[in-house]
């Protein structure tokens, strides 16, 4: 038994849910979290993002500049959705592939992370089944 913890973009929640159903792991728990990833070391990526944001802001004063700098310096926490999915060992690669396929974008950063943790036991409350049968 494994627990798959996937952190995905807020606007990718419904495609992730569909992907999970298609792969046969319909059950999940999701919560709203805030987080940040590794520091982006590729300066050109940040410069490009900065240009897009400045264009979106349509203003070129100091306050806007400061806001966008703070936005991109890596200290800010961004909203994401965290999925907990319990899975049988042999289904884990399939589920991971489905989550990756559903969440990949062209942005290169911020698409999320997937963690796989071991689970000692699981129990279904309704029937008291435990172990692999409970998933």
């Amino acid at each position: 038994m494994k627990e798959i913890i996937a952190i995905v973009r807020m606007n990718k929640v419904s495609v992730t849910k569909k992907a999970l159903i298609n792969v046969g792991a319909a059950g999940f728990t999701a919560s709203k979290v805030m987080g940040r990833g590794k520091l982006v070391e590729d300066k050109s990526l940040i410069a490009g993002r900065r240009k897009t944001l400045m264009a979106l802001a349509q203003k070129d004063d100091q306050a806007t500049d400061k806001l966008i700098t703070e936005f991109l310096d890596g200290t800010r926490l961004f909203p994401r959705r965290l999925f907990n999915v319990m899975a049988h060992d042999e289904e884990v690669p399939k589920i991971i592939a489905a989550i990756i396929a559903a969440n990949k974008t062209e942005h290169k950063v911020g698409d999320g992370k997937i963690f796989v943790l071991p689970v000692l036991d699981a129990i279904r409350v309704r029937t008291k089944e435990s172990g692999e049968a409970a998933i």
């Binding site: 979290v33 987080g35 963690f115 943790l117």
Partner: protein
């Protein structure tokens, strides 16, 4: 790899995140949670407050970095010199695999 889940006071969250970031542990996930500890919450007269708001900081790191991260969190989550009830708990669990969605690569 291991996952660190630290339940800390919400007002200590920013300090801990800054210190972690300064030490090179940039990536983290933060959830607002409610809970109670061994002291069964806070009792004021007849009223028991047992859903005390806390922040849960979750991060996944390489095995060798555990001591550093624990030291940073323990040092900065503490209230005063001696600490106080309600400063929080830290849980450490193993992580088998990690994938980055944007690159589809395994590993942190």
């Amino acid at each position: 790899m291991i996952m660190i889940r630290a339940i800390v006071r919400p007002d200590k969250k920013d300090l801990i995140l800054n210190e972690l970031s300064g030490a090179g542990f940039q990536a983290a996930t933060v959830v607002d949670v409610v809970g109670r500890g061994k002291q069964k919450g806070i009792t004021v007269g007849d009223v028991i407050y047992d859903e005390i708001p806390k922040s849960l900081i979750m991060l996944v790191i390489n095995d060798g970095e555990k001591e550093d991260v624990l030291d940073i969190i323990l040092r900065h989550a503490k209230t005063g010199e001696t600490g106080a009830f309600g400063d929080g708990k830290i849980f450490v669990s193993p992580v088998d695999e990690v994938y980055t969605v944007s690159s589809s690569l395994a590993g942190l």
